[in-house]
């Protein structure tokens, strides 16, 4: 299994967000998490990405248990195993689109071969997402949709086994959203697991499985 959640519970300031969350996702599967605003979709994704710790329960990514890990260890796992796409992907001003996409590579030492492979991957996914021609542009010159696709590219640059995407198309027009969905399908076909929190029925319909988050756990949506 690429991702396993066992009895995950999260309280925030003594308020229960959710509990009994169970999930098993094999490699290459795309799962949608749905639910009303504030129910804890983003929080669950943050738990999976190791940005926050659960109150109790077990999370495994690619066979690695996140339980009992320090924030430093969780960050290391996040860097290696997980690509994170935020709702409005933060971008670093004054850098080009390509430089923004390459930031995760700056946090690790890489051999020239690894770097070349990463750049190759960027070019390949850049084409797929329709942003390769924007690489040399300053990020401020890009539209919201273009910047979001650069955010997706950044999540893929270290070739993670799991992509965690929080409302990736909420800021995009229909055409851009379609491109993002298409790229997710392509990524998935290469064995990458995708967990996406979304309000979009368009995205949810394209996912292999759909779940609604409730305070008492995940409910499968047929």
């Amino acid at each position: 299994m690429r991702l396993v959640l066992e009895n995950v519970k999260k309280e925030y300031k003594d308020t229960l967000l959710f509990q009994n969350v169970q999930l098993r996702v094999p490699p290459g599967e795309m799962v949608a998490l749905q639910g009303r605003s504030g129910v804890g979709k983003s929080t669950l994704l943050n738990l999976i990405a190791g940005l926050e710790k659960p109150t109790s329960g077990e999370i495994q990514v690619n066979g690695i248990s996140l339980s009992g890990k320090s924030m430093h260890e969780l960050s290391s796992i996040r860097g290696q195993e997980i690509g994170y796409i935020a709702q409005n992907s933060p971008m670093i001003p004054k850098l080009t689109a390509l430089e923004n996409a390459k930031v995760p590579l700056w946090l690790v030492k890489q051999t020239p071969d690894e770097e070349a492979a990463a750049v190759q991957r960027l070019l390949q996914f850049g084409d797929l997402l329709g942003v390769a021609h924007l690489f040399e542009k300053r990020i401020e010159k890009l539209s919201g949709g273009e910047a979001q696709r650069i955010g997706i590219l950044r999540a893929l640059v270290r070739n993670p086994g799991l992509i965690v995407a929080d409302e990736p198309t909420s800021a995009l027009d229909d055409e851009s959203a379609e491109q993002v969905i298409a790229s997710f399908h392509h990524i998935r076909s290469q064995g990458v697991t995708i967990i996406v929190a979304t309000h979009s029925a368009q995205i949810a319909a394209k996912c292999d499985k759909r779940y609604r988050i409730t305070p008492s756990g995940l409910v499968s949506i047929p």
Partner: protein, 421 residues
């Protein structure tokens, strides 16, 4: 490294501002150290006189008494004995600083070295044995003067211990005030007239600028434009047939200053056996005016306090400015931190970036004042070591503050929550 470059690129003006604040801060530390050291030197001399009584020994040989006294064939011997016993007593410190102009041969320099230059008088030149001699300001001092005043040399050495005794044909060691630098140098031989008697002298050292000594007439006599000779005591009692030089020297040897904890009555008791043994009673003990010395001491203390307060206030303001620019930098870099966070950086490592930035900025900034110090100060090693010790202490203190500040700032910013949109 790339991340640091990236952060610098984001906020170049703020980085420059924080760099300038750090340079000013380091310069202030350096200026404070230099001034504190200087004020310490200036305070040490008056502090030596603090809580002590200063008395002037003065002869009563006037109004016909002089003629009567010197009619005695042993008068020179009596004066010599009295002077010798005065300085050999271990009950007090015997301090001899005599202001007495001398004449230098072939001296053709500007009139500022004249003894009455401050009163608008030029150099007095006279012929002596076919050579022109100019009257210049001079002090004759004994070894106690060096002990009580922090006199510094810029080159050469002080008087050797045997310089304080008169030798007929020996060269007199000479120290020159700082204004003489460039006119004479260490090793130069000078011909001089002291109380009209001809001597050969050799320059052994040149004083640092603004060196001062306490004298009875001036609690802070500046030595810059003076020629300093040792007071030369006679080993053997001189004969009455000796000329004006010996007579004047004997006078100056006994008209010295006593620095002691003794009260006037106690001192009188201490001096009684001396005047009995030497058979010389024609002297006064004058309680010296201690007010100027105390005022001087208080003034230097006040100066030091003012310096301390001014430095502390400016230091706090600059440190505040620096911390403020740092907090602006953190706020301006939020998008960078968010990208780093989702790319695999920890909050701790992001906070550490801020602390390291502080170290790096102050580390680089500290080089500028240090370079200036190397250029403008001779022998800067002492200042350099003290400066860097203080800089390291201040940086550690600031790093602690920065760590707390950034931790609080990041807790308030809560980047993880901001990622949720």
């Amino acid at each position: 490294m790339k991340v640091r470059k990236l952060l610098f690129k984001q906020t170049p003006y703020l980085n420059v501002l924080s760099g300038v604040a750090a340079i000013l801060f380091c310069s202030l530390i350096l200026a404070f150290i230099i001034n504190l050291q200087k004020s310490n030197i200036e305070t040490t001399a008056p502090d030596q006189f603090k809580e002590k009584n200063v008395y002037q020994i003065s002869d009563k040989l006037y109004n016909g008494q002089e003629k009567l006294f010197f009619s005695n064939p042993d008068s020179f011997s009596i004066l010599h004995q009295f002077g010798q016993k005065l300085r050999q007593s271990n009950k007090y410190d015997y301090y001899n600083a005599v202001w007495q102009p001398i004449e230098l041969a072939d001296f053709k320099i500007d009139p500022q070295f004249g003894p009455y230059y401050e009163f608008g008088k030029g150099l007095q030149i006279r012929e002596f044995e076919g050579k022109p001699y100019a009257t210049v300001a001079s002090f004759q001092i004994n070894a106690k003067v060096f002990e009580y005043n922090n006199i510094g040399l810029q080159e050469g050495h002080f008087f050797p211990s045997d310089a304080y005794f008169f030798e007929e044909d020996a060269d007199i060691p000479i120290l020159l005030g700082a204004a003489y630098k460039g006119i004479y140098q260490v090793g130069d031989h000078l011909e001089l007239l002291h109380y009209t008697r001809h001597f050969n002298g050799v320059v052994t050292g040149i004083l640092k600028p603004q060196q001062r000594i306490f004298t009875m007439n001036n609690p802070e006599a500046v030595l810059d434009r003076s020629v300093i000779l040792p007071v030369r005591y006679f080993k053997e009692p001189p004969k009455n047939t000796e000329g004006i030089f010996v007579k004047a020297s004997l006078y100056s040897h006994m008209n010295g200053t006593i620095i002691t904890n003794l009260s006037p009555m106690e001192l009188r008791d201490v001096l009684k056996p001396i005047n009995v043994e030497s058979n010389f009673e024609a002297y006064h003990i004058i309680g010296a005016e201690s007010l100027p010395i105390l005022a001087l001491s208080k003034m230097t203390d006040t100066n030091r306090l003012l310096l301390f307060i001014a430095s502390l206030t400016t230091g706090f303001m600059l440190a505040g400015l620096y911390l403020w620019t740092l907090s602006l930098l953190v706020k301006r870099n939020i998008p960078v931190y968010m990208v780093l966070l989702i790319s695999g950086a920890t909050m701790d490592s992001i906070q550490m970036l801020s602390s390291r930035r502080l170290m790096l900025t102050i580390g680089i900034a500290s080089l500028f004042p240090a370079a200036l110090l190397m250029i403008i100060v001779e022998n800067p090693l002492y200042f350099l070591i003290t400066y860097y010790v203080v800089v390291v202490i201040v940086v550690l203190l600031l790093a602690g503050m920065v760590k707390l500040m950034t931790k609080k700032l990041f807790r308030r910013l809560d980047l993880v929550q901001q990622l949720k949109g």
